[in-house]
Amino acid sequence: MDLLRINNISKAFGSHQALEDISVSIPEKSIFGLLGPNGAGKTTLIRIVTKIIEPDSGQVFLQEKEMSAALVRKIGYLPEERGLYKKMKVGDQLLYLAQLKGLSRGEATKRIKDWLEKLDLGAWRNKNIEDLSKGMAQKVQFIATVLHEPSLIILDEPFSGFDPVNADLIKNEILELRDKGTTVIFSTHRMESVEELCDHIALINKSRKILDGSKVEIKNEHREGLYTIEYKGKLPINGEFDARDTEETDAGLVKAVVKDKSGEGPNQLLKKLLREVEIHGFAEKIPSINEIFISKVKD
């Protein structure tokens, strides 16, 4: 079942068309990558989903119900630009944001304590945000996003500003939440950073969706029959293998990308290669989302 359905959303700011007829479905319990370069319209789409702004046309459905103020509270949103009240205590701040999401004082207090302990912030509860390091403040903000146990979490550029240790910590928390049944949307322009996490993706460029679907399927669709090989010897320069990106490795081997021009599959290609050179390595070159994106944008 789809947790979130975005149907034909369009939005213009004056003469600038920010989103044009965007439709995306986000399956339940998935990690969904909303990918695209800066200025593509990702943040606008998120703001429409969270009802911060209204679309010119189109609808958003959460669990098959049209998005409403009450439903928005089932969403946890971490904006790209992070910020909290500088002169407010960590605990008070989290309590305030949780109460705005509809949590009772008692329940919120209990969860805040648990989360702060979990992310090693227990000692900072009564400190002002301005006394925290940037990384700690970001962790506090992450807690604020997930405290009310939303069924959908939207993270806009989640790893920008985190050091590698904290990024890893947050990554694990996200996976844990997914395993518990939460759906997660990542929005980012750094596609490599979330590629490994996402099950589904949508690519947005210049206010239009240019691709979406399951990550595996997309990758399969964009396989070009390219293989990376490592070999000793000399490949014929003629066109049979179309070897490219040739380079020498430290081990004294040659590394190159070859193309299965006949389309007969890896076994046949390997047989042909074995006749020419001594093969040390052979693997299919699966395109990265980034590569797919760049090729799509060029089209």
Binding site: G14, R47, T50, K51, I52, I53, E54, D56, A69, V72, R73, I75, Y77, P79, E81, R82, G83, L84, Y85, K86, K87, M88, Y96, L97, Q99, L100, K101, Q141, A144
Partner: protein, 434 residues
């Protein structure tokens, strides 16, 4: 509604807990008490007696310059130059030089001093000379001073307020003026101080981007109105602390220093000619009685209403200004147009005072942008109840109107960054569908 309550509470508590709030709560009344007590205290201490030389070549004034508390006159018998030298070498405050004069056409009086002489001393000396010359001329014309004095009259109008119920109370425009001024200024200050706080709060939320998280939980309008109301609560709290604390401080200091009736005596001396009016023993009672002519419950209730209503009217506008600004400096360009009606109201106070029931006063006190200040100037003088209610009704309507305008600008503005905002853009935000 419940969420607005949460926002109001945060806005209120986070400000009331601040050190600056505590400091302002203590310093406010101390300053206010100082303003009231200090002049009285200084007046009771009296002024230092100053030594003044008198060189009277006409010899008419020997009985005029009699040493008193303020000035110690000392006659010299020397030339003008010698007297001037004596003034400088022996540290006298000044030298009054009176040449040989013709009573028909006296001129040539001089006052020498080492520094700029105070106006009051110069006036005093001029008055002494004037009176002596007048007396001598009267004598020359053969009229008796006693007879002249017996013709002089001094009228004192007892002003009395008549109410429809037939009640008579003596009124005092002095007391009404003082109360009106204080109330009008308090409202003016309150709107400025707390309006600016509102604006800064919005800029902070916008800059830290926390606003994006909040408006994904509550409507921007709720956030704005919660902030405006929360800060109104802070202002009201501060005000109540000031009033209570001021009374305590003033009462305490006054009792400790034993300066009860002094202001009245002092006032009489400043207003009337010094020789003319002795302090009327009934003056204090009269003052108290005229205070009684002012309908205090009415003044207090109106004050609270216009205090809060005026702030709410402007508070939303200040919030909208904040939403259109990335920094305090950005906000300046919109601050002036928003505050012009308020400044105008303060400037018009004098004109309103001249005719508290005139048409200028009426219109300024019902138009919501000036009414909080102007109406409070009028209320102590007594206004028709329908005017008061009209003013209050329009203020509430004005508040709803400005809040509506402000919220439309605010909801777009808080999400905009790095835009150079001008009036055209504000209008566009206002018109934007959502």
């Amino acid at each position: 509604m419940n969420r607005i309550h949460i926002i109001i509470r945060r806005e209120y508590i986070s400000r009331v807990r601040k050190k600056s709030f505590l400091i302002a709560s203590i310093l406010g009344p101390v300053l206010m008490a100082a303003i009231i007590i200090l002049p009285t205290y200084l007046a009771t201490r009296g002024v230092e007696q100053k030594d003044v030389l008198v060189l009277d070549e006409s010899e008419y004034f020997t009985d005029v310059f009699v040493p008193n508390d303020e000035l110690n006159y000392e006659f010299v018998d020397a030339s003008e130059e010698e007297a001037k030298a004596k003034l400088l070498s022996e540290g006298y405050y000044g030298l009054v030089f009176i040449p040989k004069i013709d009573l028909e056409d006296p001129f040539g009086y001089k006052f020498y001093s080492g520094s700029n002489p105070s106006m009051s001393i110069v006036n005093k000396i001029e008055r002494e000379i004037d009176r002596k010359v007048e007396d001598m001329r009267l004598e020359l014309s053969g009229l008796d001073n006693e007879v002249i004095n017996s013709f002089k009259v001094s009228t004192d109008l007892d002003t009395i307020n008549l109410s429809k119920g037939g009640m008579e109370r003596s009124s005092s425009s002095g007391a009404a003026t003082a109360i009106g001024y204080i109330a009008a200024f308090m409202i003016y200050l309150f709107i400025f101080i707390y309006g600016a706080q509102c604006m800064r709060g919005v800029i902070e939320e916008k800059n830290t981007r926390i606003v994006e998280i909040i408006v994904s939980s509550v409507k921007p309008f709720h956030l704005m109105i919660g902030k405006v109301i929360g800060i109104a609560g802070v202002g009201l709290t501060q005000f109540i602390i000031w009033i209570v604390f001021s009374f305590v401080v003033i009462a305490g200091v006054t009792a400790a220093m034993g300066i009860g009736g002094v202001p009245a005596t002092d006032g009489a001396e400043i207003m009337g000619t010094p020789q003319a009016r002795q302090v009327d023993p009934g003056f204090v009672e009269q003052a108290l009685e005229s205070l009684g002519a002012i309908n205090f419950p009415m003044v207090m209730a109106s004050f609270l209403f216009f205090f809060v209503g005026g702030y709410l009217l402007y508070g939303a506008l200040f919030a909208a200004v904040g939403s259109a600004s990335d920094t305090d400096a950005d906000a300046q360009q919109f601050m002036l147009p928003v505050t012009i009606p308020l400044i105008f109201a303060i400037i018009m106070l004098g004109a309103v005072l001249n005719d508290p029931d005139g048409s200028l006063a009426f219109w300024l006190s019902v138009i919501p942008f000036t009414s909080p200040v102007i109406m409070m100037m009028r209320v102590p003088f007594g206004v028709e109840i329908w005017e008061l209610f009209l003013s209050m009704f329009l203020l509430v309507a004005g508040f709803i109107f400005t809040t509506w305008i402000a919220s439309r600008v605010y909801r777009v503005g808080i999400l905009m960054h790095g835009t150079k905002v001008n009036w055209k853009i504000l209008a566009k935000w206002f018109m934007a569908s959502n």
